[in-house]
Amino acid sequence: MSAPLYGLVLAGGRSTRMGSDKAALRIGARTQLEQAMALLAPRVARAFVSVRADQRTDPLRGRFEQIQDTREDLGPIAGILAAQERHPASAWLVLACDLPLLDAATLDCLLRERAPERLATAFRSSLDGLPEPLCAVYEPASGAALAAYLASGRNCPRKFLSQADVKLIAEPNPRALDNANTPEEYASAMSALGEAPATTRRVTVQYFALLREQAGRSSEALVTSARTPRELYGELAARYPFSLDAALLRVAINSEFGDWSAPLKDGDAVVFIPPVAGG
């Protein structure tokens, strides 16, 4: 008799190397977070997204049930432990939100091979032979072991799994667990998916007035798969609580008024212009 299976998508990282929120990056029509939740939700009794305290009101993450990290700056292990503490009788299917090539067959293989009597079931990486901690099933008994591991001052979930009583299985699709931490890795994954290789571009966005306050910043550099300023505003409006409809704004590209439908180019500097009030 195995414990009920809950699902957790880890989306509490800071995406430092990517330069923009990995959960909000697009795979086709969906964000990576939506894609991960769409794969996870049909396979578990309840699906949650793991968040940092300051991400609770993020509109993208706010659409899902959340579990908030209870420990700061410990990486993915904090999200897994917070989930185990909240629902200690459940097993957890844990997924990173930055696995753009993850497919249903890989998850189904993991669940078919799940060994509830062990602490966890995980894939053995085709690259280095080590366990893949962020597409794995953690049984209820792993909670205490993971907490003890953390209490001993360590926080690497991969090392935890390599020392624990874990069932390791082969990956059915060797690229399924390629994670995308940088724009280059993301572009490589997109081209593996058959999407045009140059689907992302680096842009800078400057925010003024009400948009600056609502974004909580005056500028940022980001990697986006948005093809036009209109798509970019849609992407940002999913991340920030923008109250202004795009129809009220104008857009400027590289210090000139621009067109909402013009193709965005690598290196563009974009400004969304709220209703003006000079004089």
Binding site: Q206, L210, L248, F257, P274, V276, A277, G279
Partner: protein
């Protein structure tokens, strides 16, 4: 010598701005000054906070001045706009035009201030006596139709 439009974070020097437009061929000079008013739409205003997307605003203002000169045949025109926090009574915007005759000076001056108010990426936040604040033209336009983007702001 700066261009025909400047932003300033310090009080505008009107005498210098006006002096730069002097020309023996001109018999008329018209100026407009926009001041910070102590009320707007029923609220008592304590302070205005201006910010701008400066590179684009400067370019667009230079185009406005060039349009005014070409359209009204005036000799010289210039404009200056404050940025930052301004108290009630302070000079927020200055427009000056010199021309051979008064009629085109008045018309060009009116044209420039109207265009400045609705074309430049400049924003102002009103800080009210009660402690509230709000971005002018942004806070009450949740629905697209309620806002008229081409209408100059109600303030100044």
């Amino acid at each position: 010598m700066s261009g025909p439009f400047i932003f300033s974070r310090t009080p505008l020097e009107v005498a210098a701005l006006r002096g730069a437009l002097a020309d023996p061929a001109c018999g008329g000079f018209a100026a407009f000054e926009g001041w910070v008013r102590d009320h707007n739409e029923g609220q008592r205003v304590r302070l205005l906070e201006y910010e701008a997307y400066e590179p684009l605003a400067v370019r667009e203002a230079e185009r406005i001045v060039a349009e005014a000169i070409a359209r009204f045949g005036v000799a010289h025109a210039a404009c200056a706009h404050r940025l930052g926090n301004l108290s009630v009574g302070e000079l927020a915007v200055w427009v000056g035009v010199s021309a051979a005759h008064r009629d085109e000076a008045f018309r060009a001056c009116r044209f420039i201030i109207d265009e400045i108010k609705h074309r430049l990426p400049i924003w102002k936040k009103e800080h009210y006596v009660g402690g509230d604040s709000g971005w002018v033209n942004c806070e009450r336009c949740a629905a697209p139709h309620e806002h008229e983007h081409t209408r100059p702001g109600a303030h100044v």
